[in-house]
Amino acid sequence: MAQDAAQCFRQEAQDLFEQLEGALLDLEQTPDDHDLIDTAFRALHTIKGSGAMFGFDALAGFAHHLESAFDRVRSGKIAASAELIGLALAAKDHMRGLLDAATGSPDPAGARLIASLEATLGEAAASAAMRGPAAPESEADAGPGETTTYRLRFRLGQDALRRGINPLLLLDQLRDLGACTVVGLTDAIPPFDEMESDGCYIAWDVVLTTAARRNAIDDVFIFVIDDMELTVQRVSDGEASSRIGDILVNRGDVAPDAIAAALGQIPRLGELLVADGAITDGALTSALAEQQHLREETSAHAPARVSDSIRIQAQHLDDLMDRVGELVIAQARLKQLATGLDDSHLKSVAEEIERLSNELRDTTMGIRMVPIASLFGRFRRLVRDLSQELGKSVLLTTAGEDTELDNTVIERLADPLVHLIRNSVDHGLEPAAQRRAAGKSEHGTVHLSAVHSGAEVLISVKDDGGGLDRARIRARAEERGLIPAGAKLSDGELFQCIFLPGFSTAQTVTSVSGRGVGMDVVKRAIEALRGQIDIASHTGQGTEVTLRLPLTLAIIDGLLVRVGRGRYVIPLSAVEECVELSPEDDLRHTGRNFLDIRGDLVPFLRLREEFRSAAPADPYQKVVIVATGDRRIGLVVDQVIGDHQTVIKSLSKLHADVDSFSGATILGDGTVALILDVGHLVERGQTVEPTRQAS
């Protein structure tokens, strides 16, 4: 149990770190944004609080220092300087380390970070002091001796009294902090016969004017914070006197319902109270209460909202997907059996099961879909660090962050994208002086985008740098014997050279043309995801690398075909059309294997020859036209059987060298069928017979 809780906290902390990092990076752009400062502070506060609770003492202790620093930023005593943000980012990385580290181990790196944090804070405070009281920030200042007004609302768990929590003591402690106006909210009190005598149904609104720090308020609730809702808002002096809602609250002699209604109309308070209202008014089921509890743990002080999501482990999703995969296979068998037997009842049940299992499959795959924003978010930090490291000013722009992709795919995309972005910043973007000379903005841009296109997702990394140096790539490729000297190659073919393993080791190429570092690794990773890479580049204008990936790795729609005695699955997303192989085309053998598809010459591969099938060929051969990107090829098969729900099973390492197939699947009759790797076959077709345009 304790183990579970610690694991739960680890997950929560990861989220908080991401929140913190996001806020810090945004803060770097807009250092005055109070919402961002609050977000960072809240994240730190929760890390500290929950960390201490779950025994991550080193982490909690460290977070405390950082939290104090941000408390001072919040109160306007110091500015969120670039230096401070840099330190905070380093501190965040350190905390992530602490999360995994054994407790109680010495932490010299942390001590150093804290020391430099203190130093920075000292300087910042000093410079703030030198600016004197006329500094514009003093508007938000709440220095010693001055008072601040807070608006609090809290609701204890219904079992609070049974657990020995005395709300009166909490209120007394708040009163000790300063002038306090308390209003009880009784709208959640149930009808008398449903009420438990020792249940706690009342929420409280408190307006507190205090000279104490914000932490003091948190300290009042420190022992009960996990089982309550608490919102704390700071009320500026002007607001407190000008807004009718605050006055109503302060007077306290108005009926609580009237207060709630009145507060609901106040714009700034409105959102908070509507959300609160939804909770207090609505029939709060126990499930919602549980979700609410989870929500609170991730954002302790954020305005309470009804949670509409739950957190589950990725492994459970994988298991679920496996089960669904097995169900789909069993369903396919049932369908086949039902088709064979002439029983209308069985048929109708089989159809019903088919519909259900398809829906279940779609729903399950939907659950696995995650917006790519989570991935893009990580790269902001990467670009920031790279730009500092290399002394280049780089702006990262993103588009299509809400594009959804299978969770597994997202995880495995991270490394290749890091490679590509690193390449863009390091080699693609020119130094500032060179950019100026070329008449471009000094600030380089790396644009990251994602978009759905059919059954594929296109993810592109685009920079506005110098572009690929065709001459250097060609020279290098010829030197290494990768292409024949003077060969006529399209840009696409030439650029594919940089993915060849030998290419990456060449320093001259990487420093001049700027690509090649680990590109073979990128290519392998993308191919492992059954994806492809396209490159477009314009000299002087930049380079765009586009990754084309399947939506999911688990189940695809496939076209089942027969070649000789073997049955194979072609991913339906790649299939453009099926045509019959005319006797004339069939007769034109070796060297001239082309089909005329509406004016385009499309090369074709005879899969019988590819697979060395010994069985006699069917008299009427069919051609399945498949495409990846803008390249097409015809695959000659003996028979097109039909579409087939394909649960993809990866091949073992023993078949790692067989590259015509991307995986296998189990057919309705229980036998195994191989899934064709269309990308690879298209490539093969191109090398055997370069595409020509009919003219």
């Binding site: 097995e326 296979i329 073997g566 590819e610 697979f611 060395r612 099938s613 099973k649 091949l651 073992s652 390492k653 023993l654 078949h655 060298d657 067989v658 015509s660 197939f661 296998a664 699947t665 189990i666 229980g670 036998t671 195994v672 069928a673 191989l674």
Partner: protein, 152 residues
């Protein structure tokens, strides 16, 4: 000799026949023994693991040890079995089916009866054989599955 004793202590073994020779596998690694089921050929995969079979909804490669031991590949008989084992492949547990002309029994092979494979005078590659056990005047080959599959 000391180098092999750790690998060839007493163990529960499944014995099976290939071309008149008796082979022994660690019984712990054996998942199940299947009658012959349809095999899907993998074009371009070579003879050793030339096929795939469906083992309870999972796709498993079917390996033919006869290829590695220089034996002739012959058609299946009514005695032919697929022995499903779990082996380590590049650090990952992998389900692999082995073709057997006949599956015999699960038996204890005593450490004392096991000898290191002779470096010379053997028809097979010495590194594919972990040891040879003697029992009732017969030789039982203990194949080194790790090495056999690492060689691919």
């Amino acid at each position: 000799m000391a180098a092999v004793t750790s690998d060839t202590s007493s163990f529960q073994a499944l014995t099976f026949g290939l071309q008149g020779e008796i082979f022994a596998l660690d019984a712990d690694s054996v998942r199940e023994i299947l009658d012959v089921i349809p095999v899907t050929e993998v074009p371009g995969a070579g003879d050793f693991v030339g096929g795939l079979i469906n083992v309870r909804g999972k796709v498993a490669p079917l390996a033919d040890l006869r290829v590695k031991f220089g034996m002739e590949q012959q058609p299946h008989t009514t005695d032919t079995r697929f022995v499903v084992v779990e082996i380590e492949l590049a650090g990952e547990p992998t389900i692999v089916a082995l073709l057997a002309d006949k599956a015999y029994e699960v038996t204890e092979i005593g450490a004392a009866s096991i000898e290191e494979a002779p470096a010379i005078g053997m028809r097979w590659r010495a590194d594919y054989v972990k040891g040879i056990a003697k029992r009732d005047g017969e030789f039982i080959i203990i194949p080194d599955m790790g090495r056999i599959f690492a060689a691919g």
